[in-house]
Symmetry: C2
Subunit: 115 residues, 2 copies
């Protein structure tokens, strides 16, 4: 069996990669919000931390009632308990990656885990 | 204590985000290889799977002696045992994200982990 799984560029409002990439330690989604739109709910997590990367565009995220501006290239890590909601800018869409991992699950990494 | 950590766009040959973002379930690095250059070693992992996303440019990765072409927007998941080496194209740099997580560590996710 091959040690890798590859897929090409994904497009659309939301694509979940867990099954497409045979992930076992993360779920990753690729998301695009049209200008002026938002994720239509606030959510938090039980066990998972989320890391977001802005691929393009701009917008904001509200975490626990605090507004945080987002621009291309920005990274944000949100703890499981953080109540979050993402918004595109009124005049720009936003595309971002969401990486979901179990908080506290990483042991050794990089040089300590490498062979 | 705030439930989030944010940083702006990172640049340069390699930036490791674990400590900058207070990550506990992943290590993430942002990497750029100049045209014609490569990561100067082959590596595998003991426990961690890696997921790579090509932000821009083009190149290839060799996994267990198989060459896989990489273009902007591509995703590849490599199992811990996969022996890997990344190369920029002879005529283009490549910038990519590497997400390192412990294989098998994700429990419930998305709807099942959400509140």
């Amino acid at each position: 069996m091959s040690n890798y799984t590859k897929i090409g560029k994904v497009e659309g409002a939301r694509t979940e990669l867990h099954d497409k990439l045979n992930l076992t330690g993360a779920e990753i989604s690729v998301n695009t919000l049209d200008a002026g739109s938002c994720v239509p709910f606030v959510h938090a997590h039980k066990a998972n931390e989320e890391i977001y990367f802005v691929i393009s565009g701009k917008g904001k995220v509200v975490v626990d009632d605090e507004e945080i501006t987002l621009n291309e290239g920005d990274w944000i890590r949100i703890a499981p308990a953080g109540k979050r909601q993402f918004f595109a800018s009124p005049d720009s869409p936003i595309s971002f990656i969401c990486i979901q991992v179990k908080a506290g699950s990483l042991g050794a990494y990089t040089a300590e885990d490498a062979l």
